[in-house]
């Protein structure tokens, strides 16, 4: 008995320690980026940094306005999710309910491989297909190179899809079959059952899928740099190049120093806050829709 208790105590302590360790690590990262970023925020001003359009960190009189890149991140994230969420949900529904188990397993195998492919490779793919296509068809007319916001959006949608599909499929499969039977037993057809019952019962899992997809998209750096043209620019014309916050950090960190470097850390803070905001928003939406789960 005593031995058993000791063992239990040991594992409980181990679990607690690992949780504390993970939380501490996160806290350390946050403290670190704030510590490094705050000088720039102080010197240049939070408001200016967020809303000034001009980013000229190495000019004689440097300016550190992040707004174009913040917008680029927001727009590329939203547009790519706008593509990835509906496609992801529809294909998940289709995989779980409308195709045979064998086909589902094959496709899920492929999707899981896709989820693990390094983003640069996805970048290559988009470079060779979409960017090349845009170049061929629009270079003559308006002189675009193909490296553009649109290409970035495609890369990001491609990156988000496997995440969204894998998690949504798991959530749909975890829906208690008793809801499905109840619905069919009441004379509902398959489609009604999916939309009125199963998707609702899987809601929290689907939200998680979207949050993780969004996280993946906001944080994506290399593939975006590869296809976005990486020029600081924001325009309603999606065929023009752009640069996201992450791409900016990755591009300039290697040679930045002083206030410039601090400003890059400050953009890290901005990214961090954006991700927090997404999570909180989705949590609120989730709780509003009536807490229920299978």
């Amino acid at each position: 008995m005593k031995k058993y208790l000791n063992k239990q105590l040991f594992f409980e302590t181990l679990y607690k320690l690992s949780i504390i360790f993970a939380s501490l690590l996160l806290l350390l990262i946050i403290i670190f980026i704030f510590f490094e970023g705050v000088p720039a925020l102080k010197e240049y001003g939070v408001f200016k940094m967020l809303f000034n359009m001009s980013w000229q960190p190495t000019a004689h009189e440097p300016s550190f306005g992040l707004s174009k890149m913040i917008l680029a991140t927001i727009i590329s994230t939203l547009l790519s999710l706008l593509i990835a969420i509906p496609i992801g949900l529809l294909s998940s529904v289709c995989l779980v309910r409308l195709v045979s188990r064998k086909i589902k397993n094959i496709i899920m195998f492929i999707v899981e491989i896709l989820a693990g492919i390094p983003s640069v490779i996805v970048g290559f793919f988009v470079l060779k297909t979409i960017v090349a296509f845009l170049y061929q068809h629009f270079y003559m007319n308006i002189g675009v190179s193909g490296n553009s916001m649109l290409a970035a959006v495609f890369v990001l949608a491609l990156m988000a899809l496997p995440t969204i599909i894998t998690i949504t499929v798991k959530a749909l499969e975890a829906v208690n079959p008793m809801y499905t039977e109840a619905s069919l037993g009441l004379g509902a057809n398959k489609i009604q059952t999916i939309y009125k019952v199963e998707l609702k019962a899987a809601k929290s899992g689907i939200m998680a899928a979207i949050v993780l997809g969004a996280g993946r998209v906001i944080g994506e750096t290399m593939a975006v740099m590869l296809v976005s043209g990486n020029a600081i620019n924001i325009s309603s014309n999606l065929l023009l190049p752009t640069r996201t916050l992450t791409a900016n950090i990755a591009t300039e960190m290697s040679y930045a120093s002083g206030l410039h470097q601090s400003a890059l850390y400050a953009s890290g803070i901005v990214l961090f806050i954006m991700i927090m905001l997404i999570n909180i928003t989705l949590l609120i939406i989730l709780n509003k829709g009536g807490g229920d789960n299978a």
Binding site: E181, A182, A188, Q192
Partner: protein
């Protein structure tokens, strides 16, 4: 009296397992039929044939005819959704949807395209009254059905089935997850519902079968051993196996 169901030589296989073997059974309109038998004898399987619920199971193969109001419903050509509108089902574990009480009741009618608010309101009230739940919930129709007690949830599931205005209600051990008081309420309800519906109920309780049913069918290892008036089955069954089972001499 009229048959509502006439089952002829029904055989069912789960893969290679022959789970129902040559079942022949007629069910009268507006009666309560109890299906009894030891675990695994095929009661649920048989019940689920009557609203084609086994269609959902891969590898399930069914032969024979199931005449419902003289039409064979065990056929690819017969739309199972039409059948399920007329043959409702109540499950062993109460399974209200994670929605409000009101939405639960109107789920079926809404799927059929009824959207008139007044009509739906009426349906909710009349169905809940028939399921003896109206008094309990009339002030909280918009709160979640998951907040009801187990017995109330089961009556809500019955109300939800009634809202479809079916001819038949199938019940698979509807009281096995409930306490004796909730069970008594449901039994009383079943006897009341008999006036308008045909009820086919699976039960493991001999007393329950004796209390509420007009006819009893005894299943054993996929076969229908005996089917007769409940009084006869319990007073003087013709088959030795039936007698052994109802007197508890059977495993």
């Amino acid at each position: 009296m009229d048959n509502i169901f006439d089952i002829k030589n029904l055989n069912l296989w789960y893969g290679s397992k022959h789970a129902l073997q040559g079942i022949n059974l007629r069910i009268n309109k507006q009666s309560v039929v109890a299906l009894i038998g030891p675990s695994g004898c095929g009661k649920s399987t048989f019940l689920r044939c009557l609203n084609r619920m086994n269609d959902l199971i891969v590898n399930c193969h069914i032969e024979g005819s199931i005449l419902f109001n003289k039409v064979n419903v065990n056929s690819e050509r017969y739309d199972e959704i039409n059948l399920r509108k007329k043959v409702g089902m109540v499950f062993q574990r109460p399974n209200p949807f994670p929605m409000s009480i009101y939405e639960n009741v109107i789920y079926g009618p809404k799927c059929q395209g009824i959207t008139n608010k007044k009509r739906l309101d009426e349906l909710v009230e009349s169905s809940l009254k028939k399921a003896a739940l109206w008094e309990d919930v009339k002030d909280r129709l918009n709160s979640s059905a998951l907040g009801l007690s187990g017995g109330q949830q089961q009556r809500l599931c019955i109300a939800r089935a009634i809202a479809m205005e079916p001819d038949v209600i199938l019940m698979d051990e509807p009281t096995s997850a409930l306490d004796p008081i909730a069970t008594a309420k449901i039994e009383k309800l079943i006897i009341e519902l008999k006036a308008n519906y045909t009820i086919i109920i699976v039960t493991h309780s001999m007393q329950q079968a004796a209390r509420i049913s007009d006819y009893t069918a005894f299943f054993l290892m996929g076969e229908l051993i005996e089917y007769d008036k409940t009084d006869i089955i319990f007073a003087n069954p013709k088959n030795k196996k039936t007698e052994d089972y109802i007197t508890g001499r059977f495993g």
